[in-house]
């Protein structure tokens, strides 16, 4: 009690006995107040320490620094001899671990980085810590601890022990350990509560760290995926460049074929005709026949070159897609066919309003080839019939077909049908160069469709094709 205050009271009091009594009364009043003030001060310090821990949590996350600073803070506040953050090795079943952070009085040995194996713990206690158990031991030798446990603790000169779990979500990550080494120690309820609060905040940090590391892994994976996509994109770009180059070469080749290969044929045909016109009298029948054969062959060659150019063009030309009335195209082609041989009697059966979406020039080539074939292969039939129509397949896509009742073909050779230069009929019987159906197939494939055929000898043929339906 304040001496000056007492002197003042004494002077005021003047009675020795009364003063003594007054002093007693005052002392009994003031002492609990003093105690309470101490208690409140400790709580304020605790709150400050907690606040500092929480503040650190909000800074960029560095677990090592956070553990270190918190250990020092807690040790100072509790006047403990050692505060350590113990971590279990992942997947060790809580049998093994080590102190990853520590603040220790220099008088006692460091526990950090020493591997600790305690099978009893993993076996019996981990489950309890997982659900929030706190170990509060005032004296390790009088708490009925197992021998192996006492042995481990005494290794670090521990006499009193306060241990709270550090959880990462629901998973027991490690332990926050407060050691008293000098003497046994009775831990106060406020101290236990404080340590639990600290542990709770460290657990939040652990949870954040885990989320952060998951996030980093995800970011890393995304970056890698992005890089893979970029590499893929680059190689695709490269492939496109190469394809474009190949296409340009093909273009140049076709251009040159178109110009240069046909010119000599014109000379051969032209001068053969000139011989037939100007020197007819000097040529006998055989000579004239030879010249006619030369002309016929030249014209076939010309046709062959034209068909090859068409085949090449359908592959490399740009697709310009639009709505195409196939019925109208087919009718137009059939009218033209009838005009070429007006004497032939052919029944045309054309289904109306078959409209699709594709490149009109290419689809015209398809119908041109299929209908020309039908026309050609029914030429020996007295009642020829050519049909263009549509079926609906099981999955609802339209299947277009061109059907005739002509000479048909042997299904044994079906695989040859769409290959260039393959023919199933003799040149004498039905002229042709075997490029038409190869061209049809390429065009249908470019439209994302399929083409196939059915037929039997002398029972006609049917050619089917589909065109991929596009959205919008």
């Amino acid at each position: 009690m304040n001496r000056e205050l007492l002197t003042t009271i004494r002077e005021l009091c003047r009675d020795e006995a009364a003063f003594e009594q007054l002093q007693q009364i005052l002392r009994s009043e003031v002492y609990p107040l003093q105690q309470e003030i101490n208690q409140v001060n400790f709580q304020i310090d605790q709150q400050k320490a907690l606040f500092r821990v929480i503040t650190r949590l909000r800074e960029p996350l560095n677990l090592d620094m956070l553990f270190q600073a918190t250990a020092a803070e807690v040790r100072q506040l509790l006047s403990a001899d050692r505060v350590g953050v113990f971590r279990f090795y992942p997947n060790s079943g809580w049998d093994d671990g080590e102190f990853v952070s520590e603040d220790v009085d220099p008088e006692f040995s460091a526990a950090i980085t020493q591997k600790i194996h305690d099978h009893c713990f993993g076996d019996q206690f981990a489950i309890h810590y997982q659900s929030g158990r706190v170990q509060n031991v005032a004296n390790i030798y009088e708490a009925g601890l197992s021998d192996c446990h006492i042995q481990i603790l005494s290794q670090f000169q521990v006499q009193a022990n306060l241990v709270v779990p550090l959880l990462q979500g629901c998973h027991l990550w490690g332990l926050l350990c407060i050691h008293q080494c000098r003497t046994p120690r009775q831990w106060q309820a406020t101290e236990v509560e404080f340590v639990q609060q600290i542990a709770h905040h460290l657990s939040v940090a652990l949870q954040q760290a885990e989320l952060l590391s998951e996030l980093r892994i995800e970011v890393h994976e995304r970056q890698q995926a992005e890089q893979r996509a970029q590499r893929l994109n680059q190689s695709m770009q490269q492939a496109i460049v190469e394809l474009k180059a190949v296409n340009r070469e093909l273009e140049a080749f076709s251009y040159s074929v178109s110009h240069d290969l046909r010119a000599p044929l014109r000379s051969i045909d032209g001068f053969s005709q000139a011989l037939l016109e100007d020197y007819l009298e000097q040529l006998d029948e055989t000579g004239q026949d030879y010249l006619r054969r030369i002309r016929a062959a030249t014209q076939r060659m010309g046709q062959l070159i034209d068909d090859l150019l068409t085949l090449s063009r359908v592959t490399r030309s740009d697709m310009r897609k639009e709505s195409v009335d196939l019925s109208q195209l087919a009718r137009y082609i059939c009218t033209h066919l009838q005009q070429t041989e007006p004497d032939r009697s052919v029944e045309f059966v054309m289904h109306d309003d078959l409209v699709t979406y594709g490149d009109i020039r290419l689809l015209q080539v398809v119908l041109d080839n299929l209908l020309n074939n039908a026309w050609k292969f029914t030429s020996k039939h007295p009642q020829a019939r050519i049909e263009f129509g549509m079926l609906t397949s099981e999955n609802g896509t339209p299947v277009y077909f061109v059907r005739d009742n002509g000479v048909g073909f042997d299904m044994t050779f079906i695989d040859k049908l769409f290959k260039p230069f393959q023919r199933l009929h003799g040149m004498q019987e039905f002229p042709g160069n075997g490029i038409g159906l190869a061209t049809v197939q390429r065009i249908i494939h470019r439209h994302g469709g399929q083409v196939w055929a059915e037929g039997a000898i002398d029972q006609g043929a049917t050619f089917y094709f589909t065109i991929a339906v596009e959205e919008g």
Partner: protein, 149 residues
Amino acid sequence: MSGEGNHRVILLVEDNPDDEALAIRALKRNHIGNEIIVAHDGVEALDYLFATGQYTARDVSLKPAVVLLDLKLPRIDGLEVLRRIRENECTRLLPVVVLTTSNEEQDLLNSYSLGCNSYIRKPVDFLQFSEAIRQLGMYWLLMNEPPPT
């Protein structure tokens, strides 16, 4: 054959001697009597049209009734000849018929873009070629009224 085009020359621009002979044969065969001037490449064709080079002495005001123009030519190609014809005030209305081997889309597109009056692909079959020449002569020399000079 009579008409305004009858008195004027036909300018045949053709580097292949066979094609030249066949074209002339087809013209004669169809009784097209106009004088035929042959230029064997683009430079000769332009020299004739603008009275330069070997044709310096020519009266530039006398224009051909029609130019039959091949596309693949040495030195200056057919498209360039066509471009220069259309560029020049004196020749920009001259009837030019492209007479060539190819039916490549780019040739057709370029020729029409540069303002050819007609595009004919020479068929392999001479009789068809001859028929094309007959119709061509009939149209450009007989039926067509040429632009005022």
